[in-house]
């Protein structure tokens, strides 16, 4: 069967589902963050696929901005995780149950 838009969308939402499953199930803070990035990448793939099949460059523009904002967000999120690790000495989500410093 010739590869069409639905194949790319299927790959995109399978990756998204895998990322979502990882965010819910894993208990290491960094691995949760990595699965979040996987979800972002799945959305980027869907955007590029739609852009190609509808002959519209706006999808690729949005992916450009998404990659940039994701890079900034990763920097800030990792700074937060490092600060949290310095305070609590743990990277396990189950130990981080209180918001008290």
């Amino acid at each position: 069967m010739h590869v069409g838009l639905q194949h790319y969308l299927a790959v995109s939402f399978l990756l998204f589902a895998l990322g979502l499953f990882g965010v819910i199930v894993r208990r290491n803070v960094l691995v949760i963050y990595m699965c979040l990035e996987l979800m972002l990448n799945a959305a980027n793939l869907a955007l590029v696929a739609f852009s190609r099949f509808n002959n519209n460059l706006d999808g690729q523009m949005l992916v450009f901005f998404t990659i940039t904002v994701a890079a900034a967000e990763v920097a800030v999120g990792l700074a937060l995780i490092v600060a949290l690790y310095r305070k609590r000495q743990t990277a396990h989500v189950e130990d981080l149950t209180t918001m008290k410093l």
């Binding site: 939402f13 996987l38 940039t68 920097a75 990792l78």
Partner: protein, 163 residues
């Protein structure tokens, strides 16, 4: 030929996605995420988004994942020791993710998606640049301010004592 390449890249991306979930060591998870990003860059090339594929490899695999690996090495995380797996949590996750996948599948079946690629697709870097600096000028400037704010925030968050 491009069909075969699509199946190869998407199989690589999905298998590495599963390996991210099931690795005990966070460094292994990071490596598999790098491979997933590279496979997605291959899929971008198949979708004729060449500039985005290059940006994906340079920025995502080359900067963001390196930052991740720096932080993992900095925190010096050991292999995750086996805590008791909460069956209820995993069952809840399966239900939630299964529901979302079912919604997606239902959406895909219900619509008539054009399986044909649009014929003359102008997606060179020149066209992207023209679009970026005319229609998307305001988001472009805002993103530059956002990057500055992120940098200031990171420096402030990593200070030991906030004086």
């Amino acid at each position: 030929m491009s069909d075969v390449l699509f199946y190869i890249f998407s199989a690589l991306a999905l298998i590495c996605g599963v390996m991210i979930l099931t690795s005990r060591n966070p460094v292994n998870s990071a490596m598999f995420l790098v491979l997933t990003i590279a496979a997605l860059a291959g899929l971008f090339v198949l979708l004729e988004a060449f500039f985005l594929a290059a940006v994906q490899v340079l920025v995502y695999a080359g900067a963001v994942m390196v930052l991740f690996l720096f932080v993992i090495m900095l925190l010096d995380l050991k292999v995750e020791e086996r805590r008791k797996i909460k069956v209820l949590a995993v069952a809840g996750a399966v239900v939630a993710v299964g529901t979302i996948v079912a919604i997606f599948v239902k959406c895909l079946h219900g619509t008539m998606l054009s399986a044909q690629r649009a014929p003359d697709f102008q997606a060179g870097t020149i066209d992207l640049g023209k679009l970026l600096f005319t229609h998307y000028l305001l988001p472009f400037e805002i993103v530059s301010v956002l990057l500055l704010v992120a940098m200031v925030g990171v420096i402030l968050l990593s200070k030991k004592d906030l004086k």
